[in-house]
Symmetry: D3
Subunit: 251 residues, 6 copies
């Protein structure tokens, strides 16, 4: 199996920048994918902004006391540090930390460098050290739980950009990562374009349905879309998405 | 066993709107109830406001690949959606999600509809999708952890308004749910009125004791109340709750 | 083994007030200590401020239904309450709650009293009740998860100021606790002075390296420090830490 | 949805009495079912014998201190006890214990009565009390872990023969339960006949392939079946399953 | 609170040697005790025999790398080793291992010495090393899971014969421990005599009821005892417990 | 880092065939290794015999619905199946199953083939299907818990003989695996010879000490060895290990 690590198209990126991870999981479920959401990970802050980009991966294995010392950590060929310099601009660094928060999968110095290099964000099923400082860099980052202990206490970097598991989800290099204010979803690369279209359509329909619900429509009549509500939506779109009448104010 | 699903009295609701869940657990412990707090659930935001109301329940069981598809989810008799239309005004929707966060127990469209219908809030031992949008509706909601994947991935709605377990606590229809900035407690219906009185009394005494402590009283002398401190409190109340002398400022 | 419960020196406190827990774990790892970070605990709010002080401990064991009632909780010799009065000014109250969040390890009345008495903060591997009110006192507190149920539901206080485990870390009376916006680390008492020096040095070097990274230096050339980057840093310090040139603005 | 609680056909039962649960999961995976094995449950003893029969269910919810006492447990309409008398001959009692082993889902008296009544066996995601005595009855039983505390300590029976979750798997009344020396699988009722045929075929082919492997055939050439190995197998069956040459003895 | 560490009476020991832990939990539930069974612990082998005796406790805290070395482990004042020499004849050694199986709570040398000294058995919420060899000594031992790593890797002995928690259950020195083929229960010391009487009565009634069930009596009519079945039992006992008619053989 | 995948020497193998995993962990702790025991894994049966050999690894990642089907499982280049044919004679197959027991890491057909090919045994932090049949092959195998569901349901083989984590322990190709009746330990390859010598010495001393303890020696005087007891042991060895006097029989 070969991996497409080419950047994704601008239009797909634009679409995915607007949608929620929930919309993406719906579209993937229709194609039979039930295990695509990285359960248990959260953004450092809900306001950090949307994350979209192809995955570049780093894999950890457990540390061994003689190999994983502060001294060895500082060597130039330490893969943890090499990953920070090699993750491509526009990509998302996905770190398989074996689900462990015993030690840091990344710290603020590394986040600062990634930000400077144009990396889009970082996702791990472990945790970070210096989380407040990482947040200050503006780099969208997702983790399980803060993990300030030194990396070498529990983790050893062993592979760059191979297929990994992260939070129980398969992530192949080049898969498209989407993160919003709640969490992260992984789209198999070959489906990214069509999922982006479908998720955006669902997202826009939901905004429409929300207007109906606020005006008293039953959930049974508009969400998920019925044939009738979908037809009405299509007409509304065709009509140029006219404004809804204002909500009645409770006196 | 029959369940009282009548609305609770205005005075009981008023009292419970003021107290903390901690006050309620104390009052229930005195009556021998040790398992009433829904451990591990948290409000979407601490500022979402107090939640009080009788429980209306929805129970999920695990999904099956052939039954739980996006197509079936949209049917009008899907109990998940029916619950949103049938949960009574003034009630709290309690969702038994088997403690699972593999898929969403509710999303923002449903929250919007519940809010419109006058439901007081939602409690689940699973999680929601679109949590930021749910929060924006102003509906007080409690969950274990965000769960954006489509409901049908892991959960199947199987019963409305029967007795359920939620976060390990028994919840019978009509039991009174109280949620504050920390979490949620369930009061057996027949005890709601007396617990409301006792919890409010404890809450008000604590506000008094806090004033003492800030002025140097030992915890041993005022909290929990001693016979002496209680007598002093009663006098203070009888005297019209006069203002305490101002706190000395550290120079 | 005897424990030094003397206050720590002003200079060590000052140094530790500046550093991150991540810096401390690095310095301890160099000395072979891999289990010093209290994993899974978090500050009530990241803004609560730094916590530094020698540990004074309280140990809980499981409750028994006949011993642990609301009535017994109010007795003057209840060790939970005695701890609040005896924890020394300047110390940190470390509560071994056996990792349980079934019941509260502390509430707001107790926090208020500790604050009044000059205690620096509280750390537990269980949880608190009235967490919003505790936060309002300004006392830096760390916990696993909020736990509003009455203490007597699940926990019995059994020992004051003995050696305990907290979140899997050994804590001896007098060990120096350091908490920041992420979490808590425990420094064996006899190492506190030297760790403070080393951690502060690392902290200050990192601030320097961050400036380099923001201007394009590779992580391989400045973090962790190389002999060359360290020499440059020492020169920069000797030169009076001159300001870096301003960051170029992206046009 | 209606449930077929009719007994299964003799031929399907005979087939399923021979196969392994692993064979059944393979056949179900081919039809898209990935969540059918009750992970984490084990037979009381691997020698207890194969279990096959349609599911009759009992569901528990958490206990409440005032309702769930030893006195109430003894009442004639306690559903836990009624289940023991109503579970049909030839069926398997499936107990949804919410995955909890805090209290017993069944004891030896009940097992003895089920055995006497011709029930085939019991499956729970909780545990039993008096497990050695249950084993002595000869009734095939599966559980998560022994749980001798009195049922009323933690569990309340709330429903008979409705759809339940057990060990995270959906079980509808009438679904066909198959248990072997390792564990338990649940076959959706409408698929039972065809799964029985396919699983038995796989089981018999495996016995053939084992003979090949013991004589040196590569796993790549016989398992899973290749078109060539399957053709050879079919010929071997058509030839009346002739005996293989004896294994060479290592000198 | 003072602890009675006197040996228990011969008659109480004799009674408890016959009953199941399930019988004991029932009798304690009637008195309001719901947390007395050490959930998750199992005998090394179901055939190891009944365990009865007053608790003598050993408490562990987490290890620290500089204190807990193989060298320090060998010192004469290491409390782990002292416990083996001081646990009284006739007592049960209860080891609070904080629920951790990262390192051994005991090994075969220690078990051999305890056996020689007349200690009745050992219970821990951690695990043992050399479990097969411990089993060979004939000493009844209960654990969570085998834990062969050296004790000093993760655990430090800190206290002898104080109150502890073991598997979440409070154990005070002198409490009476009862272990059977399934697990372990802890009886508060002051209740041991009456619980022994009641549990034995229940045990003997159950043996009687089993005979009824094997002959076709409904569970509703004999278990738990009804007033009628209890009267019949009392008559049967008064009549000298006559033999039941033989079971009919299925032809 | 390069890995030595040469077979280990006959004398080291012979020594390790005699010792317990507990002896090995002690010897490794003396050299600073605290994370070498694969906690939570157990032999299929305690009687399966000792396992010694260099590690050959197979790594799994999570399955994806479109890639991991029964059809793809049967392809000749499926790494799971290739591993069975390529694991060298004399080696131990170590399977990194990510700690998951959602699907089988191996079945009986594969075990039969490994046995035929002269592989020593298999270790996984997941589980097997057909465990009773695997046991019947006589191949020593360790797992976390039986996992009969088809591999493709949850796991995808991604790498042969690279460094992996197994049960949280780092395993590099060629590391020496030792399994006994309790569990499994991993010895870093470069230490295998010296650890074998030291562990065997400890094992033999323990057999000697057991004789002393059975005759009344305090644990403080013989285990761990004191200088005096060690000298006595050396003399006893030098004297040809004479028989101890028979144990007195309790009359």
């Amino acid at each position: 199996m070969s991996y497409t690590t080419e950047p994704i198209s601008d239009i797909t990126r634009e679409r995915l920048m607007k949608v929620g991870t929930a919309n993406v999981t719906n579209a993937l479920l229709k194609r039979g994918f039930r295990n695509v959401y990285l359960l248990g990970l959260a953004p450092l802050t809900p306001e950090q902004g949307q994350l979209v980009g192809p995955a570049y991966t780093l894999r950890f294995m457990p540390a061994r006391e003689d190999l994983d010392t502060m001294a060895n950590y500082g060597k130039r060929d330490n893969l943890h540090r090499v990953a920070i310099e090699q993750c491509p601009q526009g990509a998302v660094l996905v770190i398989d930390a074996m689900g462990s928060t015993k030690a840091a999968a990344m710290g603020d110095m590394m986040a600062l460098r990634l930000k400077h290099r144009g990396v889009q964000g970082v996702v791990t099923d472990g945790g970070y050290r210096d989380a407040p400082a990482i947040q200050a860099t503006g780099l969208p980052c997702y983790q399980k739980q803060s993990a300030p202990p030194a990396t070498a206490i529990a983790m050893h970097p062993i592979e760059l950009n191979g297929p990994v598991g992260c939070a129980g989800v398969p992530v192949y290099p080049g898969d498209v990562i989407v993160g919003d204010g709640e969490g992260v979803v992984c789209i198999p690369r070959h489906l990214a374009d069509e999922i982006a279209i479908e998720a955006l359509d669902a997202f826009e329909y939901e905004a429409y349905a929300a207007q109906l619900i606020e005006r008293g429509t039953s959930i049974l009549d508009c969400f998920p879309a019925t044939p009738e509500s979908r037809a009405a939506y299509d007409q509304w779109v065709a009509a140029g998405r006219p404004a809804f009448p204002p909500l009645e104010t409770t006196p």
